[in-house]
Each structure stands twice: as C-alpha cells, then as structure tokens.
C-alpha cells in the first residue's frame, strides 16, 4: 500500500525545547490510525506541522501520489489539497446555522470572486442533508450552531470535515466530553469514514482507542516510541514505562 502522507525526519524546537525530534510517520490512503502519548509528547505539534500551522526546522512532509511537499503551502492551501483537521474543542461557527456551517465547508471553489458568484444548487442541498443525517443533525439544520449541545457540536464539526471531502482527516480527541452512547456512535462513524480515507485520531482515552481497533502509534518526547496493534504496543516495555505504567 502506497503512503498518502509521509513525514520523514521532522524536527522542531520552541525556545530550545525539542517538541518533535526526528519524527517519521506514514499512513496509507484508507487507514485508521490512533496516536497516543503522554502530555507533551508532541501530538498537537505533529498535527500543527501537517496542517501548516507550524513550520518544522528540518525534515520533509509529503502528501498524495505526486508527493507534494506540504512545507511550502499555507494552511488554506494544505486544506485545499485534501487535509482536514478537527480540533480538540469543537470549533464551529456558533453565530451561523448548522446548514450555513456545512455549506461553508462543502467542497467548492474557495476564492473570493468565485464565492461571491456561488449560488446554492439542489445537489449541494442534498449533500448537506445527507451529511446532517449521517451525524444525526437532520432536524437541526436551521438552528444556530451555538444552540447545539457539546456532543452535537462535535458531530457538526465532523460533518464539516466530511463536507470538505478530504483525503486525510486529523482528529484531535473526538470523544472528549461525549456520553457513552455518543462515543460508540463516534467510533462507528470514524471506522466507517476510514474505509475510504485516511484518518488519524489523537486520543488520550485508552478505552476509546481499544474500541477503534486499529494500528496505534505511540509518541514520546517528540518521536515514535512504538507502533503496531494496541495489544502489541501495550506489551512493549518502553511504552509501559513512560505512559501506561503511570496510570
């Protein structure tokens, strides 16, 4: 399987602190991957680098069949190449309706002139409707996103990610603040999405990771400590020492 995202030998330091230390990581075109690690292991910095928020000091990040380097692209360009990101706290546009949020995210031309001339078509409405059904928000389309509950906001954000039709999704702690039932539903949704796209889930919660039932990458001090099935990495002595042993 050819890799969709290749991160090789990436390092970055902030004020002398090495947040990411010679990190190498890759993921296939349709794969679900969980990244775990203690606080400060570099999980968020890793996402920042892939999405263009942080520029690494050294190393290479390439994406897609043509191995496009992401390092020279802006955040917006990276998003247009096909990388979507979900933040830890749900960040939806609270002052706008659920439908408006989804329409914003729908894959379409992004330049000001084209957006100015853009008119909604029935196919777009269908897409919005389908996405809303998928995440259980079909009855909430005309409501302002700010009125939604925490879990609903999380789902709206996931639906917005899907609307972008990205090839790679980076999801930061999706289960935070969800009820048990909501988490089960999220697990289902993520595994379903991963059948056609690459999904990277950063998660603290081991229960949730177990449920995802996928390959796991353990980060520690900005580098990969272990990789494999959850069974495999939980037996790894290094992993037990730095991470699991603490709990």
């Amino acid at each position: 399987m050819s890799a969709l995202l290749e991160v090789s030998g990436v390092s970055v330091s902030f004020d002398g602190f090495r947040a990411i230390n010679n990190l190498t990581f890759s993921i296939g075109t349709a794969e679900l991957r969980a990244i775990i690690g203690p606080n400060g292991a570099g999980k968020s910095t890793f996402m920042d680098i892939v999405t263009g928020k942080t520029k690494p000091d050294s190393g290479a990040v390439t994406f897609g069949e043509k191995s496009t380097s992401l390092l020279k692209l802006s955040e917006a360009q990276i998003a247009r190449v096909g990388i979507g990101r979900k933040f830890q706290r749900p960040t939806v546009f609270e002052d706008q309706t659920v439908a408006e949020n989804l329409i914003l995210a729908l894959k379409a031309a992004r330049s000001p002139w084209k957006v100015l001339a853009w008119r909604i078509k029935s196919i777009d409405l269908e897409k919005v409707q389908r996405l809303a059904v998928q995440v259980g928000l079909a009855d909430h389309l005309p409501r302002k996103a700010g009125e939604l509950s925490h879990g609903q906001k999380q789902w709206l954000e996931i639906a917005m990610l899907l609307a972008q039709e990205p090839r790679l999704l980076l999801v930061d702690e999706p289960a935070a603040g969800m009820t048990l039932a909501e988490r089960e539903r999220t697990t289902e949704l993520l595994t379903q999405i991963a059948q056609t796209r690459a999904v990277v889930v950063v998660e603290h919660d081991m229960d949730f990771v177990r449920r995802l039932n996928c390959r796991v990458t353990v980060l520690h001090e900005g580098a990969v400590l272990a990789e494999g099935s959850l069974e495999h990495v939980t037996k790894n002595q290094d992993v037990i020492d730095v991470y699991l042993g603490r709990g």
Binding site: S74, D95, A145, S149, G151, A176, M178
Partner: protein, 401 residues
C-alpha cells in the same frame, strides 16, 4: 427571507423619505441648506454601510476609511474646480478682444487655482483634471489601489485587531499631514473650494441640492441592496466566520488574507464614491477631513446604530450625524445650571462619548437591537465549560439547572 423583507422595508422607507423631502423642498418647507445636510447625511450612511461590512461582518476595525472618503472627494473636487475655473478664465479672456490660446487658458487656470499657495503651474497630478470621465476613474482607482497596497502589506503580515486599527489611523494621519503641505499639489490647508458650483450648470443651488440629494438616495439604495445581497450569501458567511474564528476558516481552505484584502478594497471604493457625492454638496474639502478622528466617528456611528446589521449602520450614521449637526449648529438651547452652563456646542462631544460607552457596555447591538427585541429574536447564549467526558453533552449551566 428575513433579509429580503428588511431590504424591501429599507427601500420603501428611503423612497418615502426622498419623496417627502422633495415635496417639502419644492414648497419651501425644507430649506436648501437642510436639503444639503440631508444629502450629505445619506452619503455618510453609505460610508457607514461600508464600515459595517468591514467591521460588523468581517471583524476588521479599520479606523482609516474616512481617508478614502476624502480622497474620493478630492478626486471629484479637482475636476469641479478645474472646469469651473476654466469657465471663468475663458470668460475673462474673451473680454480681452483677441481669442485666447490654449496656453493662455491653462496658464490662467493654474494661476487662479494655485495662486493661493504661491505657485503658477499645474502639478502633474492635475493631468486628468480637465476630463470628467478620467477624474471619475480616479475616484475609484486611487483609493482602490491605495487600499489594495496598504491591505496587502498589512494582511499578508497577519496584522490583526488593535494593531491593524492603529496602522489605519497612522495611514490617514500620514495622508492628512502630506496634504497639509503646500507643495502636495492639492492646495495645502486651503483644500479645494467652490465645489458646489457645477460647471456648465445654470440652475440655482436650490435645484442642484435636490439633484445631489436624489443621487445620494439612489446610491444609498443601490449600496444597501448590493451589500445585503453579499452578506446574505456564502461570501457573507465566510467573512462572518473570519470575524469569529479566522484560524478555523483557514483550515477549511479559505485564504483569510485574500478575503480581508477583498473586503478592505471593496469598502474603500464604496466609501470613496460616497465621498465623491458628499463634497460637491459640502462645497469645500481640506486635509482636516482626513484627520484620524473622522474615521473614529465613522466607527462610533456604526457601533451606536448596531454593527452586524446593515440597517443598523444606516440608522446610526443618520441619527448621530444629524444630532451632531443640530447640537454643534448652535440651535440646541443651552442649559443653565447656576454654577455653569451646558453649552451644547462643546458638551455634545461629551454626550456622544458617554452614549458610545453606554452602548458598548449595555447594548452591544446598538439601536438596531430594538428591532431584534421587538421581533423576539434571541442570540444563542450557551456559555459555560463542557462538563467533561461521560457527563455528556450538557454544558455546565444546563447541567446545574
């Protein structure tokens, strides 16, 4: 739907107002100077609409937009002054007997216009002043290009918030100081005057004032409809999203900088056109019009009227600027307090400042908030930290109820 309804109401109210003022003016009930004041107010409303687009919708607090207003005025003023002076010069040379050569005419115009700053040659920037179409083009191009260049530099460097506001204040101050110089080519602190006299028009000011009033009303109507179409579509959705969380918009693939630049330039051009309609009614323009305070007033009008609502901006600009001209016109009765007298010419500023503070603190939606209140529309208020995992989707405040 709501947007279309408010659009219709706005157009109807404006049309009714225009008709009433016209009838009043033709029956002598409304004085010519008051028609001019109303016409100027409508131009200020257009500027406030643009300010609402950039501040209320896109969240960019520009405190330099009145610079573009004045630049638009200067550009149209150059043609007005040139063409008017040309008429006078040609008329006076015609009395001399011999037909005047073009050189004599242009010499005459130059010394007429620039005698006041001790120069007798037309500066290069007056090269287009003889032609109305060319000068009208400059009304759009000069402010537009300036805004494009300034915005490109500022937004590319990701200057935001209060830093951008300060930068725009610096821009308008720098322009004002430049124009104050006698050798700036625009008559220094004398500015351009006599702009109320339209070249080639024999009609009296009473009629001309009504023409401009109609033009301003039409321009306001077009601007309102255009901007309300923009903000109710996807573009409006994008810029409101930029206002609320620009980092998130970037991760959706929109180039935030391109949008900001677009809005900055578009609003500058709108404001410049409003200025080009304003100054022929005011009759005079000088560099004091570019003072930083002018742009701050523009923001105050929009804040008092209610930002994020187009009709709010119009109401704010109309109410505050009309009140301002009433209070500062010396017609408001002074209030004797025994130990001191409240003389409104000076105290108006205090009142305005206080009402700005009060609106900011107690009524962030401004005057237009009244309409929301009447309609019973509430904005989502679901504050409080999430309770954390397993306690589920309830927010703190709901769970504690």
């Amino acid at each position: 739907m709501r947007n279309q309804k408010s659009r219709l109401i706005f157009v109807l109210v404006l049309a009714l107002f225009t008709i009433l003022v016209t009838i009043g003016a033709q029956n002598g009930l409304v004085s010519t100077s008051f028609v001019k004041t109303l016409g100027k107010t409508l131009c200020l409303c257009i500027a406030a609409l643009a300010m609402d687009l950039i501040w209320g919708y896109a969240g960019i607090l520009s405190l330099g937009h009145m610079a573009f207003f004045a630049l638009g005025g200067y550009m149209i003023g150059m043609w007005l002054m040139y063409a008017r002076t040309e008429e006078i010069v040609v008329a006076s040379l015609a009395n001399a007997g011999l037909p005047a050569t073009p050189e004599e005419i242009s010499q005459g115009i130059a010394s007429q216009i620039f005698g006041v700053v001790g120069a007798s040659d037309l500066p290069m920037i007056w090269g287009f002043a003889h032609s109305l179409p060319l000068q009208l083009m400059l009304v759009v191009l000069l402010p537009g290009l300036l805004a494009l260049a300034f915005g490109w530099l500022a937004f590319r460097a990701r200057v935001t918030g209060v830093y951008l506001s300060i930068l725009t204040q610096a821009m308008t101050l720098a322009l004002a100081l430049y124009l104050f110089q006698n050798d700036s080519g625009l008559r220094g602190n004398n500015g351009l005057s006599g702009l109320q006299n339209l070249p080639g028009v024999t009609a009296g000011q009473q009629e001309v004032s009504l023409w401009f009033f109609w033009a301003a009303a039409a321009a306001l109507c077009i601007t309102y409809i255009g901007l309300s179409a923009i903000v109710s579509g996807k573009f409006g959705s994008v810029i409101r999203a930029i206002r609320d969380d620009e980092a998130r918009v970037r991760f959706l693939g929109y180039s935030v900088e391109a949008y900001k630049l677009f809005v900055f330039t578009l609003t500058s051009v709108i404001v410049a056109l409003a200025g080009a309609l304003y100054y022929p009614q005011a009759g005079i323009i000088n560099p004091a019009e570019l003072a930083p305070i002018a742009s701050i007033y523009l923001a105050v009008w929009v804040a008092i009227g209610g930002r994020g609502k187009l009709y709010g901006a119009v109401i704010g600009a109309a109410v505050v600027s009309l009140l301002s001209s009433w209070f500062t016109g010396g017609r408001a009765p002074s209030i004797p307090l025994g130990f001191a007298t409240i003389d409104w010419v000076n105290w108006w500023q205090v009142l305005l400042g206080l009402s700005f503070v009060c609106v900011t603190l107690f009524a962030p939606k401004g005057i237009s908030g009244i309409f929301d209140w009447v309609a019973g529309a509430a904005s989502p208020d679901r504050k409080g930290a999430p309770l954390g995992r397993d306690d589920g989707s309830l927010q703190e405040q709901e769970a504690l109820k």
